[in-house]
Amino acid sequence: MPAAELDIRNLSAGYGQTHVLEDVSFMVPAGGRLSILGRNGMGKTTLMASLMGLTRHYAGSISLAGQNVTALGTAARSHAGIGLVPQTREIFKGLTVEENLFAGLKGRPRSAIEEAYVLFPRLRERRRNLGSQLSGGEQQMLATARSILGQPSVLLLDEPLEGLAPVICDMLMEAFGRLAASGAMTILFVEQRLESALAFADDVIILERGRIVWSGKPDALRADAEVLERYIGVGGLH
């Protein structure tokens, strides 16, 4: 599935009666990389979940390659080309690495699992270990690889570096960079590590209380100490 343009218009979503996202609009071109920033609790993960159809939708539209997918359920959105690597990784801990990968194949031949091992050779070594026996970094690799095996046209990465050692973060960022460079998918990247998020992206948006309060290029954000201080809580990058 080739990379697709993702167009979000006036999206409002949340959980139950609680509106978390309000009037969110942005567009990512096919093959583009968008980093989504904001402090904790500002709606970043809810945005990812909403794109995957895991929250309650109140208003607005989500279009993938020009096709409106707003009314589709979670599995159908996955088939339409949206792939999520959730914040909590959510691998199947009772299944082996290979079985977890199989779950992401979406009908592709089993041999396609090799792609995951090429991206993350560590998983090949662990292929018969249970998910519960993996380190945090390995779990993240597995969650990412499982999602990529489904050949999404838009990949949602929700805080993939959270709680991981710097050396693992570097490995993952290198893999994400390779994926992005291949141009095979549009990538949305939610991350708390500011420099990683800025280095990765073509464009950046900042969420504050469920609304987009800033959007622009990474370099523009780097240079804007006031925005960084107000919305991210850091005093500027040098």
Partner: protein
């Protein structure tokens, strides 16, 4: 990442296959030992095999898919009545009767799954009870076909392979049942290990996660209901062939609840657990009821409470845990 965390080795595919053959050989050996050691109890042992098929079928949907059911008797009863009615109407080949039972169970599984999968949690459990009760009542009312509360009789299965009569001693029925159990068990090991079985286990862990991977839960679970129905139906057909009577108890809430108790006793989500639970529960029931026909339920209840409290993962889960601990100790000692 540079230094790998050492951990116990997971068995390779060939070793797993070897263990499967060993397991099947063990079941065959225990079964044959039962044949030689208890020649006067073969009818009871055949009943154990028939119920074991029911409990295995229940494990498929409870243990592997996480769907609670107290209505598995509907599938077992459908198989028993289908085989019984076919036999009364002239289809007497035992192999064919088993297939008819499997088909009836599968169709009932399809219907039951299509209804039960519309709900979740407690409502799902209530639906399962309602279905088995409805079927029980239908079997009772349709007495011209099922024999009603008197039971369906007049069955006369043909000799096995044209040679071995289904006699009063129950030798043919027992060996036939043992062979059937071995075949079904081998197939179920394959099914539960297959990618399909793996997706079912994933659905049990977290359906939302599976859905985010683009897998539709309903058809997967429905397929498992059909397989489960076929297995339960074979159990019912075996009981019909062995006893040559099909009673209302074969499609009852009681047999469904007992099957769940046996599964919990043996360990949910382990095919071996389903067998262990069935054998222990039925043996206990058989022995204790003979010793004290008035208070045997009290003793059986006490044993069950003890097992649930002290071995919550069931007997097979506890054995697994012990084996894991021993392996870990051995692995540590070897470092």
């Amino acid at each position: 990442m540079a230094t790998a965390t050492p951990m116990p080795v997971i068995p390779s595919a060939s070793r797993t296959l070897g263990r499967d053959f060993l397991g099947l050989a063990l079941i065959a050996l225990v079964g044959l030992a039962g044949y030689w050691l208890f020649p006067d109890n073969l009818a009871f042992l055949t009943r154990v095999i028939s119920v074991a098929l029911l409990v295995l079928s229940l494990d498929l949907i409870v243990g592997y898919c996480g769907i609670a059911s107290l209505g598995q008797g509907a599938l077992y009863g459908a198989g028993a009545y289908a085989a019984g009615i076919a036999c009364v109407h002239g289809i007497t080949d035992p192999g064919l009767l088993i297939l008819i039972g499997a088909a009836a169970g599968a169709v009932m599984g399809l219907l039951m799954g299509a209804i039960m999968l519309r709900a979740h949690g407690l409502p799902q459990l209530v639906l399962s009870i309602a279905i088995v009760q409805l079927l029980h009542e239908a079997a009772n009312k349709a007495s011209s076909i099922t024999g009603g509360s008197d039971g369906l009789s007049g069955m006369s299965p043909a000799p096995l392979f044209g040679l071995f009569e289904f006699d009063l001693w129950g030798r043919s029925a027992y060996l036939f049942g043992l062979g059937l159990l071995l075949i079904v068990f081998a197939v179920l090991r394959f099914v539960t290990r297959s990618p399909f079985g793996m997706v079912c286990r994933g659905l049990k862990e977290d359906p939302l996660r599976i859905s985010a991977l683009g897998i539709y839960a309903f058809p997967v679970l429905l397929k498992m209901f059909v397989i489960s129905g076929a297995v339960a139906g074979m159990g019912g057909a075996l009981a019909a062939i062995a006893t040559q009577v099909v009673g209302l108890d074969s499609v009852s809430f009681e047999i469904s609840a007992n099957a769940l108790v046996m599964l919990v006793l043996g360990g949910i989500g382990h095919l071996y657990g389903a067998l262990i639970g069935t054998v222990i529960f039925m043996a206990l029931e058989h022995i204790v009821a003979a010793i004290n026909p008035f208070h045997w339920m009290t003793l059986v209840g006490a044993v069950l409470i003890a097992i649930v409290l002290f071995a919550p993962r069931g007997l097979s889960g506890t054995l697994d845990e012990l084996a894991r601990l021993l392996t870990r100790e051995r692995w540590r000692a070897g470092r």
